[in-house]
């Protein structure tokens, strides 16, 4: 039952926030913040209890009949992967609400409603174990986000919102078709027509069908993640969205793409995914380098941060297709830490825009003098973005590197160029905005902003120094995902292992037999 609450509390909170719009301008924000705090506490409670219920596959589960004639059920379930991402959702959601406290002046009740609906959709997508239900939530997060950009966005918001909608919708429709085809294939083969994820996992099908269906699912998640060359909606949408929208987009919406790859694409279509892996590696490496190069070239600070996401999400794609424990652990840590650090960078960009009324970095400079707290926060997250050890993002990237290196040393080495490029653009942000001769005065972060940034910094440092709780949580899930343990090479086999190179790569197929 708790899962139903987790999904519906944001919806209820959003409606209450809408109703409280008449009570004053910050009333809706208070309602949202309260709601998210409750939802986060519930999730934290599940996390605290995660150790005891380690036996079964799910930490919590609820399954109610919904449209029985079509084999659709209301099936929510949570394992370590979804728990981590749901906790991230509520945490970042709360930070986003705090960051847009004063930014949204008009119709703030409606704004909060859309924000909370997006969050509910994301939460539902992380929990749904029925493909029909999953698609429902997948669409649910799209429409309120579209409205957020289109109504509260910046100058070019109409173009950006429509582009965002069409790109994601094109991918989603391909996935819808694939879900239906999978439904019928499974039904014909077994006589049981169902959308249940667990049932569909063992669908017998021909290789061509598997490959095509895999591509269709991949398309939907590749647009969301985003994967080069389907990323071009992202800089527009991130730039034009209001601060809270950018935080949710970069911090959470992109993660649904990574989640989908881990939860659906590889487990549903393992053989096709195995064959597709080299192409995924290539796209990931291109994305890592391309995103980083473009980030450096931008003058608009939000666009700059947006392109860094393209680069960082390349590591997620790389890690997923390596499909071993190290890489997948790295992917999860990377997703959580990127959510926090990029969310924070967008919040800083939003704070700059609110104060200076520009996003052009050539009009900034020397802001450290006036705003040392903001500068210090920006420095921490820029360092997180360049993968400084001691901060969480390093753990994620390094585990991905290790996992990928055992599978494809070439891909790992090429992706390592991202380490140099990320240093170039991250330090460039600090230089252009906070260092150099002072160009304008600025007010520093107040208490409200520090209240959001201090926990975010704490999370990043905590995950950098003590990532083990998160790794343990996800470790339980990995055992159910049929991941090959990337065996530490014991004495004697060292040389062969490295010489064997990519031949070592193998997705476990035990579940299908």
């Amino acid at each position: 039952m708790i899962l139903i609450w987790i999904v519906f509390i944001p919806v209820i909170g959003g409606l209450l926030a809408r109703l409280s719009g008449g009570l004053g301008r910050s009333a809706p924000a208070w309602v949202s913040l309260g709601t998210l705090t409750i939802a986060f506490s519930l999730t934290a409670g599940l996390f605290a209890g995660a150790g005891e219920s380690a036996e079964g596959r799910w930490l919590a589960e609820v399954k109610l009949p919904w449209i029985s004639q079509l084999g659709v059920s209301f099936h929510l379930a949570m394992d370590g992967l979804s728990l981590a991402l749901v906790a991230l959702t509520f945490f970042l959601g709360a930070c986003a609400v705090v960051s847009s406290w004063t930014e949204v002046r008009e119709r703030s009740g409606l704004f909060q409603l859309n924000l909370m609906l997006t969050i509910a959709g994301i939460t539902g997508a992380f929990l749904a174990m029925d493909l029909f239900l999953f698609y429902f939530f997948w669409e649910l997060m799209l429409i309120p986000m579209f409205i957020l950009i289109a109504l509260w966005g910046h100058e070019n918001r109409r173009y950006a919102s429509i582009k965002f909608f069409i790109f994601t919708q094109a991918g989603s429709l391909l996935m819808l078709v694939a879900i239906l085809v999978l439904f019928f294939i499974h039904g014909r083969a077994t006589g049981e027509y169902t959308f249940s994820y667990e049932a569909l996992l063992s669908t017998p099908m021909g290789y061509t069908a598997e490959f095509l269906l895999m591509l269709a699912f991949f398309a939907a998640f590749a647009v969301k993640l985003p994967v080069f060359p389907f990323h071009t909606w992202l800089p527009e949408a991130h730039t034009e969205a209001p601060t809270a929208g950018s935080v949710i987009l970069a911090g959470l919406l992109l993660k649904t793409g990574g989640y989908g790859l881990i939860r659906f694409v590889v487990p549903l279509f393992p053989e096709a995914s195995f064959d597709f892996a080299p192409y995924a590696f290539a796209l990931a490496v291109i994305g890592i380098i391309y995103g980083a190069v473009l980030a450096f070239g931008q003058r608009d600070i939000k666009r700059l941060v947006a392109y860094t996401s393209v680069s960082h999400m390349g590591f997620v794609l790389l890690g997923v297709y390596a499909w071993n424990e190290l890489a997948l652990q790295g992917v999860l840590v990377q997703m959580v830490c990127h959510g926090v650090s990029t969310g924070a960078l967008f919040m800083i960009a939003g704070a700059l825009q609110e104060r200076l009324h520009t996003r052009d970095i050539s009009e900034m400079g020397g802001l450290w003098t006036g705003a040392p707290k903001m500068g210090a926060a920006a420095l921490v997250f820029a360092l997180a973005s360049l993968g400084l050890p001691g901060l969480g993002n390093f753990i994620g990237e390094f585990l991905v590197f290790l996992g990928v290196f055992t599978v494809s040393p070439e891909a790992a080495i090429l992706a390592a160029a991202g380490l140099v490029l990320s240093a170039i653009y991250s330090l460039w942000i600090i230089q252009r905005v906070f260092h150099g001769p002072q160009k304008t005065g600025i007010t520093d972060f107040g208490r409200r902003e520090m209240a959001a940034f201090v926990p975010m910094i704490a999370v990043i440092v905590w995950l950098g120094l003590f990532p083990q709780p998160l790794l343990d949580l996800f470790g339980q899930t990995l055992r159910t995902l049929n991941v090959t343990a990337s065996v530490p090479v014991e004495a004697g086999s060292g040389v062969e292992k490295l010489d064997a190179g990519s031949a070592v790569y193998r997705i476990s197929l035990t579940a299908r037999e």
């Binding site: 450096f296 003098t369 400084l388 050890p389 380490l419 083990q468 790794l471 530490p488 060292g494 040389v495």
Partner: protein, 621 residues
Amino acid sequence: MYELLWLVPALPFAGFLILALIGRVPSARAAAAVGALSVGLSAALTLYIGYEYLVSPPEGGAFTQSLWQWISAGGLQVTAALRLDALSLLMAVVVTSVGFLIHLYSMRYMAGDDGLRRFFAYMNLFTASMLVLVLSDNLLFLYVGWEGVGLCSYLLIGFWYKERYNGYAARKAFIVTRVGDTLFAIGILVLFTGLGTMNIQELMTRATAEWAGSGLPTLAAALLLGGALGKSAQLPLQTWLPDAMAGPTPVSAFIHAATMVTAGVYLIARTHALFDLAPEVMSVVAVIGAATLLLASFSALVQKDIKRVLAYSTISQIGYMFLALGVGAPQAAMFHFMTHAFFKALLFLGAGAVILAMHHEQDMTKMGGLRKEMPFVFWTFLAGAASLSALPFVTAGYFSKDLILSLVWQSSFGAVLWVCGVAGAFLTALYTFRMVFLTFFGEGRKKTVEGPGVKMGLPLLALAALSIAGGFVETPEFFGGMGLFSNFLSPVFPLLQHAQEEPGWVLYAGAGAPVAGLAAAWLFYGRRKAVDAVEQPLGALRGFWFSGWGFDSAYDFIFVRPFLWLTSALRGEPVDRPFRWVEKLSGSLNTLFVRTQTGKVRWYATGITIGAVLALSAVLL
């Protein structure tokens, strides 16, 4: 007592946390006191642990302290753990002691600066990171310190952030070393994938047992070498260090002379068992060392900025350390590291005193005659200069450099490298005393302010004493044959074998080259000639050396400009263009179809007829 080891890095880190997190420190003095005290306590504790180590050494000469389980996933087990052995103890003693002296000096040097709290916070964070680097028992935790010192170096070079050039120098330092760090990281991947552990001792044992005879040690050692070249500013990644002088002078003394830049030397010494398996890489290390020490010496010869002379000199002296590592003499490299930390820190601090007295003037051609105005600084600086020049028998620098030269002579292809080393020794004395004569001799050109005071004087005095006397722990056969230093390190590095008797002229050359350099410096610069007149005959070479052999412009041409071109070419997002075509296509189709809706029945009738005919014929045919 050893259980307190964790406090050695924790104390400076606590100092950093206090300075960074407490919003308002009562006063700038209090902030400086916190900064210096945390390092001072750490230094006292390290010395006490060192005393314990000498009196009652731990079992096997090493003590390991696990702090916490850091990462445990998918076969990777990494514990944050510290390891105290002779090598890490030596490094820790030098880092904390020299660090404390420099912190003390900074209290006076940086007094009155707006960012004093920030300065000491960064300095403390640096000290903590450097201690993690040298004390870590595994490569990944070492990498935390490795990147941490790089970060602090970046932050402190760009400490005066309002100047654009400082920011440029800071970014250059970080990015150039990041290139090396990335190679190092790939090296860690190779080592872990191949050997299945991160623990350094375990890695060395397994590499020796499993990798002998394969190409993997060469690959792994070459990648680690890449990291070492970046951090230690050796060819071809040396270009960042001269620009790093943009930072405050105590930073140059601490980070860019005494400690961080020698991290590469430490890394190779730490993993020398792996390098022993890769003789090709060892030769590369030696050749790079020899080439770097010569190139940097020539560049130091024509600089005008006193700090840039010292920067090139640092590159050159680390070249000696690499030379020693390359010929398989890590203990000689560590000996030179120690004496270099003393005399180079001293020279930077002395230069800082001069710069402060000259109202932040760094151009030596505008100085002169300071010998009479600042006698204390002059005499201590002279001690450092003598030690750097390796003037025979009375300086620490002589004993460490002589040890390197005699070991190079004995190595397999030593003659060429030895000639480079001796030539370097001559050049070192020449540029060092050029600096001394230009700064302290001749006529005064500018009025100075007050002298250094106690907080700056004490570190100068202590370091001067160490620069002179610090070498007597390890002396050659003909000079008492002390072996304290190499005996101390013998649990880590096997004792040196003096295989063959060196001919007498090797000794004379080693002792004579610095004296000749001093004489040449006196000849050219001692008699108050204008620098330009002396160096004019060098012609174009002078500019070439001055610019560091044109590396900067070459890299600018090969890397920076193409990258900038690429970023500006891609700025408009060419990948988006096909999607825009789709947009345009649907737009024009829309206009096309809008035209068909004319409202004229005749047109519609024609359309229906044509359509019907086409449909019918499609069915019938």
